[in-house]
Symmetry: C2
Subunit: 207 residues, 2 copies
């Protein structure tokens, strides 16, 4: 039996989910709560397997709720269940540890299916959300100045925070050589300091 809790300010939503879940095979409603604090209170002794939570609760944001919940019970699967899909909120939620992100427009059967999918190691998302997530990985083929293999090695170590000397030790060359490579890297990247280079690598997501 998979236990499901719903945290949502609207009574209408809570009751709807509760009825749906209780009426389905293999799922049972753990509880329904109007805000974050009453949910935490109820989870004091035992937590549900799955929690559906709104992106914005009256007393805290959805991702704050997630962060605090997972701090106590990291194995709970949290699904955002929201009316409005906000680009930034998607990423905040996943960063906080959400397992999925669903629109309230979803059909009842798809909602049940999503809950089961989350329980079975998936990450159910509304198609629109999935597209947002996937496109966030795209770099616009911003192709990187062609660095030589050695330059990549040096740059990689630089981005781990190593100094010229340390990089030299790692690569079995002198620090002079490292600085020589750095000069060429700077030229190709059009920067003029280590921290600029590291910043650019981070921003462009290269390497």
């Amino acid at each position: 039996m998979i236990t499901v809790a719903i945290v949502d300010a609207q009574r209408h939503t809570r009751e709807g989910v509760q009825r749906l879940v209780d009426a389905s095979d293999g799922l049972s409603c753990f509880g329904a709560y109007a805000d974050g604090h009453s949910a935490f209170e109820a989870f004091e002794r035992q937590s549900p397997d799955i929690v559906l939570v709104e992106a914005e609760l009256p007393d805290m944001s959805g991702y704050e709720f997630i962060r605090r919940l997972l701090y106590k019970t990291p194995d709970t699967e949290v699904l955002i269940f929201t009316e409005v899909i906000e680009e930034e909120d998607i990423f905040q939620s996943f960063r906080a540890g959400a397992t999925g992100y669903l629109s309230k427009k979803i059909s009842p059967s798809d909602l049940l299916q999503s809950i089961r999918e989350a329980y079975n190691g998936g990450a159910p998302m509304t198609p629109e959300v999935a597209r947002h997530v996937v496109t966030s990985f795209r770099h616009d083929a911003k192709q990187l100045p062609s660095l030589s293999q050695r330059e990549y090695d040096v740059l990689a170590l630089l981005c781990k925070g190593y100094s010229s000397r340390k990089i030299g030790e790692r690569l079995f060359v002198s620090s002079n050589t490292v600085r020589f490579h750095l000069k060429n890297i700077y030229r190709k990247l059009k920067v003029s300091s280590r921290h600029e280079a590291v910043a650019m690598v981070a921003k462009e997501g290269m390497l």
Copy 2:
């Protein structure tokens, strides 16, 4: 009519997909190709709406295929369709511009459903893949040493690549003051150079 092409080394797979697609409503098979080059040749005049491609082709990797294809026709939706799911390959593919990532274990009806979803602005993924993608966003709530507001300002500019002097100009303080703040930032972050600080900010995703 949505046109679908399949690029896969195995004849068995190509023929299976071709038959499935042609037998379905609203989809038609644009063509089936055993490797990247023959696909590009065929796409010379016109491209299909959707391309299913293996993660590893005989003549190039799946993501190289994607990169080159999208360079010519950015509106094509490419779905990876693969036997083996490799963590790293998922991200490479999405970075290259893949719209979805499917396992060959998928059921025929789910495959058709996925193609339609891709066409309609979604990003179909096998549940396992979705979970990988979503967890990649998680930072383990590694919360950052508490920096003061000013220190955050300085750090932010540093991470944009500015020098002490430039930061000072931006914040209307002397470069000495900037260096003073940097000292304190280093102490709190347990680093001892600008590029280390930038590297840490990038890695931990703070700021």
